[in-house]
Amino acid sequence: MSAVTLGLPSFPPRSPEGAGFLRGTEKFPVAAHHELANAQLRRNIGKATHTIRAKRLHVTGELPDWEELRDAGSAIKTDVMARLPELLEKFEAAVIARGGHVHWAADANEANAIVTELVKATGSDEVIKVKSMATQEIGLNEHLETQGILAYETDLAELIVQLGHDKPSHILVPAIHRNRSEIREIFLREMPDVDPNLGDNPADLAGAARKFLRHKFMTTPVAISGANFGIADTGTLTVVESEGNGRMCLTLPKTLITVMGIEKILPTYQDLEVFLQLLPRSSTGERMNPYTSMWTGVTPGDGPQEFHLVLLDNGRTAALADKIGREALNCIRCSACLNVCPVYERTGGHAYGSTYPGPIGAVLTPQLAGMHGKDDPNSTLPFASSLCGACFDACPVKIDIPSLLVELRHQKVEQAGVTAESVAMKAASFAMSTSTRWTAAQKAAGLGRIVAGKKGKISTLPPPLNGWTAARDIPAPPKQTFRSWWDSDEGRAALDEARREGKAGK
């Protein structure tokens, strides 16, 4: 017997349960129930998404080559996913060659531990942060707090969310669910030395935040950022933002730690040209974002003198291993799909229970963190869509989100085994697979007329169909199906008449 045990092939690990924010506590329909009742949220999100939709259409419409840009973006990302290991190794070598340090984190726990150790090594117990989806995904701020390190968000909306002990509800506009009087109250309660007569107009609120943040920028020696793109050829990292707080974090502190998802790679500097056109137009509806910061390793005497890059997997390799689902990794986090999604518009970001809400979140979250059985909230996300396709039309890198949702539904159903629904679907498939069986089933459907009674409509149905009749009627099935009309004297006479009318009209 051989002494070598080969073992079973193992699937790449998903993001671990219990770490970070890739799993909510409630199933989507339950969480949506709470959010649908939140009038403030409904008003804010409806207004914001409509405004940004119009802006996006305006600035994409003025580019004659917008569709070609989308195709280019899609092609570059697809190529990146096809040769990710090679590009990552190249990227790592380039970062090290320019004086950076590279750390590989298999999951949220590893990434949090690496960052904690790096911060502790600086001796600081405070860090300033650039808005970052990756660090939100792994729950870095919360982890640092358990280790006695305070992380301050410097993006205004992120700061509002953080001080409000709240969670972001939009990728790009995290505090979209808050109004200004709420923000004023949060600032008064949480910020030191705030003028008690602080007004609630945007300029006053921004002023208070600026004063608070300036002090942090000038005194905190460590910054943590995410990255929009990393360029394999040169080891360059990029952050794209609107307020300039990012630039302060990326230039003032002594130490910079960047946490980047491994899918954020672009092969060459020139590829950035495509994405710097696609991203701002798709996200904020601007031709160009106000601040684009790039850095490559360290430069003696200028900017942070120590630079660490943490490359985060956290389920990305698992997503990459799925040849259909991997398309979701092409996402550049622009939030265009959120802003056009009719489901997101009504339920907001919290209903999705993940750092990544909306249509892309509904495909990305279950792929990164898995769908573990029928009680897992993530298993309800692929169903949180009417498959209207608005997201596919809006996506700057043409991710076919509706098809990916359908694919994940298929995976979920395959996992679930035999359920009441699968039995019903099997029965429907059997009944519809031949016309003989189908006409028999149609006769049974005709029984609906008895349920409908004299009023000719059905207003109550038993579970699970009562979801329909809670707000909608169903007409009684007609006495005659189409096919029986077609075979009837009445049908033949009507068609004969139409034939005569046609000939007469010629």
Binding site: S385, A470, E501
Partner: protein, 249 residues
């Protein structure tokens, strides 16, 4: 032209008027309309709910029924079902079917059309000689709009209807919230979407909300019926099939 009518499962059973109107309209336009009785369902419900293998017999049945070479075109009064034939059948056939089914699916999909596409693109007709003296608004269903890209073809047809008062639906391209089993699995979100759609229909003052899909109309009509709104839903085919001698009530 020999045109096979695909009535769709929901059309055949619940909304026969849309299929009747399609048959009468195409007959009046001088075509030989046939109804292959072997037809059942396109399988979209199974695919969209996650039951792809369950869709296989339906995809195979569709290909068998309409594969007949004497049929020049298959026409359905549904953007959604035609969208499924065009975009989902090959996925199901490639995964679970035989090589010969894959071939059949490609052939049949190439001759399957949604009604407005068939009239405008294939027959090159935008005036079908219809008469409909009512105020009407039109909801472009998501799958007609985004899976089939029918664009303004339904509106081109409606604009040529005699005596129609066609009024624009605000936020027309927003989903009505139907989405098949979405309307049941996420009933409350679906209802919130429906509420806005119905509000927009009401704002137009239209007597009829029309569309090219009976399932979306069932959703919108179901909500309007519950609210006792007074306005009704009507399939695009029924308007186009209306003539002065038989005005739709």
């Amino acid at each position: 032209m020999r045109v096979a009518l695909f009535a769709t499962c929901i059309g055949d059973t619940m909304f026969p008027d849309a299929a009747k109107a399609t048959a009468l309209l195409l007959t009046r336009l001088g075509h030989d309309v046939v109804f292959p009785p072997g037809q059942t369902c396109c399988g979209q419900m199974h695919v969209n709910t996650g039951y792809q293998p369950g869709a296989l017999p339906l995809v195979a049945n569709y290909a068998d029924t309409f594969g007949d070479t004497s049929i020049d075109a298959v026409v359905a009064p549904s953007g959604s079902c035609v969208g499924s034939v065009r975009h989902q059948h090959e996925v199901v056939a490639e995964r679970y079917g035989t090589a010969s089914l894959c071939g059949q699916v490609q052939t049949v999909k190439a001759k399957t059309y949604e009604l407005s596409e068939f009239l405008v693109d294939v027959l090159d007709v935008t005036d079908v000689g219809a008469y409909f003296p009512h105020r009407v608004t039109y909801h472009p269903t998501c799958h007609s709009l985004r899976m089939l890209r029918v664009g303004d073809k339904p509106l081109q047809l409606l604009r040529n209807v005699r005596d129609i008062d066609l009024v624009e639906l605000p936020e027309a391209d927003s989903c009505c919230g139907f989405g098949g089993t979405f309307a049941i699995k996420n009933a409350e979100t679906s209802t919130a979407m429906l509420a806005d759609k119905i509000r927009h229909v009401a704002d137009t003052g239209a007597e009829f909300c029309s569309a090219g899909d009976s399932s979306c109309l069932m959703h919108i009509g179901g909500g309007m019926s519950r609210l006792q709104m007074g306005a009704k839903t009507i399939h695009l085919a029924e308007i186009l099939a209306s003539v002065e001698s038989r005005v739709h009530a």
